[in-house]
Symmetry: C4
Subunit: 241 residues, 4 copies
Amino acid sequence: MESGVLQPPLALRELRERVADANVRLVREGLVELTFGNASAVDREAGLVAIKPSGVPFTALCPDDIPVLELATGEIVAGTLRPSSDTPTHLALYRAFAGIGGVVHTHSPYATAWAQARLAIPCLGTTHADHFAGPVPVTRALREDEIAAGYEEATGRVIAETLGPTDPLAMPGVLVCSHGPFTWGAGPEEAVENAVALEVVAASTYRALRLAADVEPISEELLAKHFGRKHGPGSYYGQPS
Amino acid sequence: MESGVLQPPLALRELRERVADANVRLVREGLVELTFGNASAVDREAGLVAIKPSGVPFTALCPDDIPVLELATGEIVAGTLRPSSDTPTHLALYRAFAGIGGVVHTHSPYATAWAQARLAIPCLGTTHADHFAGPVPVTRALREDEIAAGYEEATGRVIAETLGPTDPLAMPGVLVCSHGPFTWGAGPEEAVENAVALEVVAASTYRALRLAADVEPISEELLAKHFGRKHGPGSYYGQPS
Amino acid sequence: MESGVLQPPLALRELRERVADANVRLVREGLVELTFGNASAVDREAGLVAIKPSGVPFTALCPDDIPVLELATGEIVAGTLRPSSDTPTHLALYRAFAGIGGVVHTHSPYATAWAQARLAIPCLGTTHADHFAGPVPVTRALREDEIAAGYEEATGRVIAETLGPTDPLAMPGVLVCSHGPFTWGAGPEEAVENAVALEVVAASTYRALRLAADVEPISEELLAKHFGRKHGPGSYYGQPS
Amino acid sequence: MESGVLQPPLALRELRERVADANVRLVREGLVELTFGNASAVDREAGLVAIKPSGVPFTALCPDDIPVLELATGEIVAGTLRPSSDTPTHLALYRAFAGIGGVVHTHSPYATAWAQARLAIPCLGTTHADHFAGPVPVTRALREDEIAAGYEEATGRVIAETLGPTDPLAMPGVLVCSHGPFTWGAGPEEAVENAVALEVVAASTYRALRLAADVEPISEELLAKHFGRKHGPGSYYGQPS
């Protein structure tokens, strides 16, 4: 199955397995239809990225099907299948956000509706605050010249531009205007969990605004309390690691 | 199981299998309830069409249950079951659109809501642009005389009238006013995928408009970029064939 | 398992099996949560009705669990379990509508929303017209005296009052105001199918009205065409029986 | 697996099994995503509470994984895993409501939307009246000082404050403002059923209000009739116990 000239080191096997698992989980969680979506992971030490192959059904993914590329150049170093057409977006995110280890892109139903409405998702509840330390932002529309050449890389750049100086692990997702959500995390597993959480939040906030169009966002105190109890030095959610 | 006087040629076996598979997949994808929906395929060389039998549960479909008809005359040449009552619509579409190889009709939840609202689906996002090169149109209401005689064939004609000079593979679906969606493609598999995509798009656009009633359609550039990266000579999505 | 003094005739075995199957199918079709719902069937010749036992999980239903009652008196003639608390409603419907053989009650999500909104479902599409020959009506609210005594029987009477002289097989369902849908049919299988169709129609009409609040009902011609192609002497949908 | 100094009495084994089952059922009923939710039970005689461990996947829960705490002190007496971060809320509810035996917390889709909209759910139908003897209330927002220290216990106190003198078994659920639903019951099984019913009611009432924004709540008579036929001395729903 392997035809590249470079034989990937043993550690890459695990990276490809985690990427295959993350992609399969996107389907199980109901976040993707057909082939709309992809997950990737980076090995910072090796400088390599593993990502879903383009247009291949999720159900059939094996670790050997997962293309591996150099983070610096985008050159393919393992795998015979063409990587996702969104690969330049993933690479741009790994370059812009040094602290992340996995990226997920979906067209999940409610998050995509917010992206198509070109609206940030306000923080109306604690489920949101458990994962995102504020409103989930939406990018500006891409310019004509960004669409014409290097479109996928520009998509990554506009996500980084939207996040600005915010810590990517405090806001692990952005809606791309008229497109859909990208999420990330410490690894591909966390990126998938943030994609699940973003869809849940997108749905409940959509409905809350139908019930009460002018409801206020939650207070800074409640937001900080919930984000802080799951993340950072004072966290006390989950088991001690 | 076969009682027709004509024994179908070997190649028809495959056509019937693909049609049986396409119909079963409509259920798996959540596009049909009860017996509301049907898929067909055409063998242009043989001049034959295979289609779902009428009112038969999807779960029980075997290739031998699939009726086969002459494209030119609608005469049944294989199979003992009565073909779908929508057969004249399928035949009309195969006659009007020379480039298509499969047709699907569903009453999928959101696409049907748009058809019942008598509204075209505007293109608000890239999921839409990946499959449909513009708004998905809705037909005019059928006239009294079209309902009174040859209703199902008139349904096919009004779809073709709605599409006009547009390439059917650039706009592989139309909403029939007060009824539901018809989609098509190079083969029955592509027709099913377009039915899935249409339902996804119908749902996300429904929700985007609840969030932002006056949101603008995406730019011509973004639409052309996304449709073009999946279809036509410059496409680079998926694996090389 | 059988403790009644009367041993039910052999034909009752089939009636109870069909009622057990119909109840289990309500769950499979996503029409009921917990124990909210029930299906029954009548044997007109024997004057007996079989119905779901009260408050028993659907998954565990065996034919021997299905209570059997006299249609005329409501007296239990077979089975050790207490019949559904909605039994008097079912009996009232069997008495009022001589042509029906099965009754189903659910709290299915969208049909119940219409019932709680106290609104009839207008006929906006052909899925609706395939099953219901006009708007699906909603009953008036029950009066205080009807709630105080004989509430469940009054529920059946108000359904019959709402239908008036309409043929129950042309309008095989009614929404009970602030409660939920009751459907019926030639047998319990048809009653379940009408419950499925009613939920589909309730959902698509809900959504169509969000998209276009003032959309008109379909024409009388289109309604008659679709209802007529599935029902009555000129029908041509499905297989010849 | 057990490392506590105290060996739990035999009866605790059953309590932990019931809590493990209740937590697993929350997933099966579609009420929780990821690790958002928890179920607990109390043994009043032993003064002990069993509850889901924090941040552990639901699918993997065994009775031995279930932490057990003293109701009076919150001290852990069995189990090696850290209990849910919402444990102080559960303990506060068991202390405030002497008649309850189980508590469930979810972020179920529609109930959470109501909580985020900061609105009580009005009683528009009999499904609601079957479980909740009036509108399901929403708490006030927590004050800054309540968020800063003892947040989870304050959440329990504000629920009790919201319920006031109402019998907790007549109103077995409250929406916590900007957070989500808590439900309870005679045991953990009933608490789960009330969580299911609350989600069903939250969804149908959301939709009914989209269809008819000014629909009136059901009458006191109908509410009392339905609640009374399932609960209390005159109940006649279900099987005699």
